[in-house]
C-alpha cells in the first residue's frame, strides 16, 4: 500500500461523504412529503441550511452536569462514523488489521451507546424541570424519583442496543460467511472487486451478493438493522413524539445541535455505504467509481423514508417480536450462505 493513496483517501473520502450527507435528510423529507400529498421543504432545507443556521445561533450552556462532555458526544460520533467509513476503503484495509466486520460492528455499538450518555447527561425544560406546581392528589406515589425524558430515552436505547441490533450484525455477517472471511476487502473481492486497479468501467464486472438468495435475505435483515441504528420509524421509540419528544438530543442547541445533525447525517450515509460495500461489492474508492457508490448510498435512506412514512412508532411489545423476526431472517440468510 502506497502512502499517497492512503493519505489521499483519508483526506478525500470523509470530505466527500460529509458534503453529500447533508442532502440526504432533504431527500428523505421530500419523499415523505410527496407520499403525504404535499410539497414539503426544499431539499437543502432540513439537512444543509439547518446546519448553518444552528452554527450561527447563540451558544448556550446546556443544562447538564458535564456540559463540555455533553457537547463533545456528537463530535465523537462524527469521528467514529468516518473512522468506520475509512476502514471500509481499500486504502485502509491493511491498517492495524482493523478493517474487519468485527471491528466495525463494535464501533457501531459504541456509536449507539453515545445516546445513552447523551440521555444521562442532560435535562431539558420539557419534563421534570417544567415550572409547574405539581400536586399529589391521591395518586399512589411512593418513590420521589422523577425520571426525565432523557433518562427514559437512555433506558430505551439500552434495550434497543441489546435486542435491536442483531439484525444489523447478522446482515453484516451474511456476506462474510459467503466470502469465507471477515475482512471487508475479501468480501468485496469475492464479488469481483479488484483492489489493485479499479476503474469505473469495472463496475459491470461486479457480481453483487445482493442478487443471490442468501444475499437478499441478509440485505433485508440489514435494512431492518439500519432502521434500528438510525432510530428511524418504526424503531424510533427512543425519541418518539408520543412521549419523550426528542429524547437524548433535547438539550442540544446552536453549534452542538449542528454537530448532532451532522452525526445523524453521517450515520445515514456511512451505514448505507457499508451496505453498498458488502452487498454490491463496491467500496468507497478515490476516483470516478465513487460517484456510483454515492448514488447507491441513497438506496437505504430512500427505503427508510418510505418505510417510515407508512409505519407507526412501535413499542417494545412490537419491537421484540419484530426484531426477533428479523434476527430469524438474518439467521436464515446465514444458513443459506453456509449452504
Amino acid at each position: 500500500m502506497e502512502w499517497d493513496t492512503f493519505a489521499l483517501t483519508t483526506a478525500v473520502i470523509p470530505v466527500v461523504f460529509f458534503a453529500s450527507s447533508t442532502y440526504i435528510p432533504g431527500i428523505m423529507r421530500k419523499i415523505q412529503a410527496r407520499i403525504q400529498l404535499r410539497i414539503g421543504p426544499p431539499i437543502l432545507t432540513p439537512g444543509f441550511w439547518a446546519i448553518f443556521k444552528f452554527i450561527y445561533k447563540e451558544r448556550i450552556t446546556p443544562v447538564s452536569p458535564m456540559p463540555r462532555l455533553y457537547h463533545a458526544l456528537p463530535v465523537i460520533g462524527i469521528f467514529l462514523m468516518f473512522f468506520i467509513l475509512l476502514l471500509t476503503t481499500p486504502a485502509w484495509s491493511g491498517v492495524l488489521g482493523l478493517a474487519t466486520l468485527v471491528a466495525i460492528a463494535g464501533l457501531v455499538k459504541v456509536e449507539e451507546a453515545l445516546y445513552i450518555f447523551m440521555g444521562n447527561l442532560s435535562q431539558s425544560i420539557l419534563s421534570v424541570r417544567m415550572p409547574y406546581p405539581d400536586r399529589i392528589k391521591g395518586a399512589i406515589m411512593k418513590g420521589a424519583t422523577r425520571r426525565s425524558f432523557e433518562q427514559v430515552a437512555a433506558l430505551r436505547t439500552f434495550k434497543l442496543i441489546s435486542i435491536g441490533s442483531f439484525p444489523l450484525y447478522l446482515g453484516m455477517f451474511v456476506p462474510a460467511v459467503m466470502a469465507g472471511s471477515i475482512s471487508i476487502m475479501s468480501v468485496a473481492a469475492y464479488q469481483g472487486f479488484d483492489t489493485a486497479a479499479f476503474g469505473i468501467r469495472d463496475i459491470f464486472s461486479l457480481s453483487p451478493l445482493l442478487f443471490t438468495a442468501p444475499g437478499l435475505v441478509g440485505a433485508l435483515a440489514y435494512v431492518a438493522g439500519y432502521l434500528v441504528v438510525l432510530n428511524e420509524y418504526p424503531f424510533s421509540i427512543m425519541h418518539t413524539k408520543a412521549d419523550v419528544i426528542e429524547g437524548p438530543s433535547l438539550e442540544y442547541a446552536a453549534r452542538a445541535r449542528a454537530a448532532y445533525y451532522l452525526m445523524k447525517e453521517a450515520t445515514l450515509i456511512v451505514m448505507s455505504s457499508i451496505f453498498v460495500t458488502l452487498y454490491i461489492g463496491l467500496p468507497p474508492v478515490v476516483g470516478w467509481a465513487l460517484v456510483p457508490h454515492l448514488l447507491l448510498c441513497l438506496a437505504l435512506p430512500v427505503a427508510a423514508a418510505i418505510i417510515s412514512a407508512f409505519t407507526p412508532v412501535l413499542t417494545f411489545k412490537q419491537v421484540y417480536p419484530l426484531s426477533l423476526g428479523c434476527t430469524a431472517l438474518g439467521v436464515v440468510g446465514v444458513i443459506l450462505a453456509i449452504l
Partner: protein, 148 residues
C-alpha cells in the same frame, strides 16, 4: 451572508398553548399538518424543543399558571428568536380580558403574551385562518435573518 441565507432557508417553529380555547391551536396545527396548507413548503418546520426553535408561536391568553413556564421556555430558545402571538387572546387577552367591561376582566389570566415576553408579530383573528398564520410567519422570517 451565509448566516442570512441559512436563517431564511431553515426555520423551526415551536408552539405553546398558554390556555386559550383550542381554536387557535387547531388552526396552527392545521397549517402544519394539513397537506392543503403545508407549512414546510415555506421552509418552516415544526419542533417541540425550545433548544431547536427560532420562532415561538403562542396561542391563547397567558393564564397565571402558565406565566413562569412561558418565560422559561422563551429563555431556553437561543438567539435569534421571534415570538408570534396568534389570535386575539394572545394579542390582548381576548374576550376573557375585555368582554367583562365594567365587570372587569378575569382574574385568572394575565392577558396578552406581550405582558410576559416581547412579541414580534401579532396575527389577528379568532382564530386566524391557517393562511393568515402562514403569511404572517413567512413574512417575519426576514426579521430573523436581520438579527445579530
Amino acid at each position: 451572508m451565509l448566516k442570512e441565507i441559512s436563517r431564511k432557508n431553515a426555520v423551526h417553529i415551536m408552539l405553546v398553548y398558554t390556555g386559550g380555547c383550542n381554536g387557535c391551536d387547531i388552526e396552527v396545527v392545521n397549517a402544519v399538518m394539513s397537506p392543503f396548507y403545508d407549512m414546510e413548503q415555506y421552509k418552516v418546520m415544526l419542533t417541540w424543543n425550545p433548544r431547536e426553535a427560532d420562532i415561538l408561536a403562542v396561542t391563547g391568553p397567558v393564564t397565571k399558571k402558565f406565566e413562569k413556564a412561558l418565560k422559561e421556555i422563551y429563555e431556553a430558545i437561543p438567539e435569534p428568536k421571534l415570538v408570534a402571538a396568534i389570535g386575539t387572546c394572545a394579542i390582548t387577552g381576548g374576550p376573557y380580558a375585555n368582554l367583562g367591561g365594567d365587570l372587569g376582566s378575569s382574574d385568572q389570566i394575565i392577558g396578552g403574551v406581550a405582558k410576559v415576553i416581547p412579541v414580534d408579530a401579532n396575527i389577528p383573528g379568532c382564530p386566524p385562518r391557517p393562511e393568515d398564520i402562514l403569511q404572517a410567519v413567512a413574512s417575519v422570517i426576514p426579521l430573523l435573518a436581520g438579527k445579530r
